[in-house]
Amino acid sequence: MRKMRRTIAAALATAAAFAAVAGPASALTTGDQTVGGTTLSTLSLGVSTPAVILTGLAPGGTASGTGAVVVTSTNSWTLKVADATANAGHLGQTGGTCAGSEASTVNPLTVTTTGTPGNTSSAGAKTIGATPTTVATGTFADALTNAYSLLLGNTETLLTGCVYGTTATYTVQ
């Protein structure tokens, strides 16, 4: 009888020891990691709409169309536009049936560039020419809208179906 009691006591002690050791295996363990980066200086320009179609291109009317560019910058920037082609801001014939039509529009294109208020300042309506003209300035990155306008004279000879166009080049610095 005395021997039996010792055996039971030993078994209970074993069970208690087992539970005490196994406990930590199910405990949660956590660790923190700080992830971060320092903003690099960057400046780039993306053209969201490589081709802009003007509507209302007819004598006596005002043709208009809208394009977009994205300035990606971490510093103050200035956006300029120029037409480096021989058209110098005027639209020249680029296709279609143009026999007898004006070689180029009498007036040059104008553009008004706008962005997010408080970030981008518009220079207002600017005439596009061979020389770069500032159309907007800004502080940080922004998506910009370019609203084009072209006033066509009543006496301009424009044949139906004649395609006019030019290429405006934007530079950010």
């Binding site: 030993a10 074993t14 660790g31």
Partner: protein
């Protein structure tokens, strides 16, 4: 009987442990219009049973990076996108996964043995995100092994 039972008791080494090998991870290429990236590592130790590694951002940013108080005037209050992380172990028994880090826990790895878990972070920064050059963005992510 008691002697046999004591021999089967797991050693204290079976307790889970999580070591943070790289407490601070620096993301390279951190700028608008870029994909920032960086690597870190953890060590899951003392394992005799299957484990699961989870990640969450309990800092209030929910995985987005927030600017420092100084040097960031005018910058975004947080990145548009959240961090993502892809975990991978050195052992073939460790299974890694990718997850976008948020406020809730996401499983990024599981295994059955002590292993080093490598962590590849990535953050796509939008081209129009307003960030001042030199501004430091960061957050703290918390890993849990169980």
């Amino acid at each position: 009987m008691s002697t046999t039972a004591l021999a089967a008791v797991p050693s204290p080494a079976s307790a889970l442990g999580l070591g943070v090998s790289t407490p601070s991870v620096t993301l390279a290429n951190f700028a608008p219009g870029q994909q920032a990236s960086g690597t870190g590592a953890l060590t899951v130790s003392g394992v005799l049973t299957p484990w699961t590694l989870k990640v969450a951002d309990g800092s209030g940013h929910a995985g987005h990076l927030a600017p420092a108080v100084v040097g960031c005037a005018g910058s975004e209050l947080q990145t548009v996108n959240a961090l993502s992380v892809t975990a991978s172990g050195l052992l073939p028994t460790t299974n890694g996964a990718g997850a976008v880090i948020g406020a809730g826990s996401a499983t990024v790895a599981n295994g059955v043995a002590t292993d080093t878990v490598n962590l590849a972070y990535r953050l796509d920064v939008g081209g129009t995100e307003v960030m001042r050059a030199g501004c430091v963005y960061s957050t703290t992510v918390t890993y849990t092994v169980q």
